[in-house]
Subunit: 142 residues, 4 copies
C-alpha cells in the first residue's frame, strides 16, 4: 500500500486573529493535497480530469478531527491513502502532522460525477481506478 505525502507551510492567509490556522483554510490545503495526488501521484491533473475524462469528483462527506492548533510558519506533513474504492465513489484517509505531532485527521468521501447542469454519479473511469489501486489500504483491500 502506497501513501501520498506532501508538505505545506502555514501562511498568513491561513491564520486567524488568534494566530492559529482558521479551520476552513485546512480544507483548502486538503483540496490541494488531493489535486497533487491526482496530478503527481496518479498522473491525471484536474484539468485533464474535467476536460479529458469529463468527470468531476465532488466531496460528499467529510469527518474531521482537529487535534492540535497550527501556527504561522509550521510545516505540515500531509499524508493520504485510500480507505475504500467503490464503483462510483472513494473514501480517503488523510492526516497532517508537524514535527511528529498530529494536527488533524479526516476521512473524506468523493463521488465521481458527470459535469454540467445536471450532475449525477457515474462509474469511476477504468484508467483512474487502476491509478488509484496502489493507494488502497491493505486491510480495506481484503
Amino acid at each position: 500500500m502506497m501513501r501520498f505525502e506532501r508538505e505545506t507551510v502555514v501562511r498568513m492567509q491561513h491564520v486567524d486573529a488568534a494566530g492559529i490556522v482558521f479551520y476552513p483554510r485546512y480544507f483548502e490545503m486538503v483540496v490541494q493535497l488531493i489535486e497533487d495526488w491526482f496530478a503527481d501521484g496518479m498522473g491525471i491533473d484536474f484539468h485533464a480530469l474535467h476536460h479529458v475524462c469529463g468527470v468531476g469528483v465532488p466531496t460528499v462527506h467529510v469527518d474531521i478531527e482537529f487535534r492540535r492548533p497550527s501556527r504561522l510558519g509550521d510545516r505540515l506533513l500531509f499524508s493520504l491513502n485510500l480507505l475504500k474504492l467503490k464503483r462510483t465513489s472513494l473514501m480517503l484517509g488523510i492526516g497532517a502532522s508537524c514535527r511528529g505531532e498530529e494536527r488533524l485527521r479526516l476521512r473524506q468521501v468523493l463521488t465521481c460525477t458527470s459535469l454540467g447542469e445536471a450532475i449525477h454519479a457515474v462509474d469511476i473511469p477504468a484508467d483512474l481506478r487502476a491509478a488509484m489501486s496502489p493507494y488502497l489500504h491493505s486491510e480495506a483491500a481484503q
Copy 2:
C-alpha cells in the same frame, strides 16, 4: 427549543470552475453563522468573547454531508441548534437548504479554551452557558 436562522447568498467567491460551491467555502459560511449566533442570537460578539470573556471557541470536530450542489445566486437558509452542552464543549447541529431542498447538514463540536500561546480547555463561562441554553435541542436536554 429555539433555532437560529440566517440566509446567505452564494457569491462569486464561493463557486469553483464547475459553477458550484467549492466546499471549503461552505465552512466560511458556517463560521459566519456561528459568529452571527453569538452576536445576534446571544448578544456576545466574537470581539467581546475574545477581549471581555478571554476565551475562544475553536472547532475540534466536524462531520458534514454535502447533499446537493449549490450555485451562484442561490439563497441558502442556514439553521443552527445546540445538540449537546457540556462543561467545556458544545455540539452544534447545522443545516442549509435552498427552496426547500437540503444542501448540507453537519455536526460541529467547539471547545471553550483560553487564548494565547498555551491553549487549554476551560469551563464555558456561566453567562455564555445561560445564553446558549434556549437553543438546546429538547431531546438532548432530557
Copy 3:
C-alpha cells in the same frame, strides 16, 4: 448622480494574525459590493449577466490605497459610483469607511467580455449601459 452603498461586517475569515483585515480579503468585499450593485442597484445579477447577457466583467486594473486598518466586528460602509463609462469598459470609484474614518479607496476598471475559452472585449450591452448611467459621476459625465 447616484451612489450605491452597502454595509459589510469584518468577520473572522477576514482578519490576520495581527487582528486586522488581511488585505486580499478586502477584494472579496469589493467583489461582493459589485455583485450587489449589479443585482440590487441595477436588477441584473451575475447569474443573469453570465447566462442571459452572455458576458462577463473581469477586472483589468485596480489602484487601491489602504488608509487605516480594520478590525474584527468593524462595520464597513462601502460606497460605489461610476467614474467612467466607455464602449467596452467602465471605471468604478469605491471607498469604505467605519464610523466616519476612511479605511480604503480604490479605482477599478472592468472590461465587458465574451465568456468561454477565447475571451475578448465586447460592447457593454445597451440595457446594462442604461442601468449604469444613473451612477455615473456628474463631473465625469460632462
Copy 4:
C-alpha cells in the same frame, strides 16, 4: 540587482465559475511571494519579523494590471524586485507570467509598522534594510 522568483500553480481554490483566476486570489499568491522573499530570499520569516523584530509590513498601496486570464493548472512564474527603499516604507515591483505570456504586473507599497493596538510607522530595522538592498532596482538606486 537581484530578482526573487517563485513558481505558483493555479489551483481549484483560485478559479471562478468562468474557469479563470478570481482576481482576489492573485493577492493571496502575491502575499505568499512576499512571505517567501522574506523567508527564503532574506532569511527572515514572518514569524521572526513579528516576534523577533516586533514589526509588521502592512500594505498601504497596490496598483495592479491584470493583462491576460490564468486557468486551472497554469504554472505562474512570479518575479519580485525592489523599486524604492525609503526610511519607513518600500515599493515592490511584481510580475507574473506563464509560458512567456505576461499575466499581471503590480507595484505594491508596504510600510514598516509597530504591532498591537496602536499601529504607527517605524524605521525599517537595519538588518532588514541590509537584506533588502541587493533586490533594489539599479535605476532606482542611482
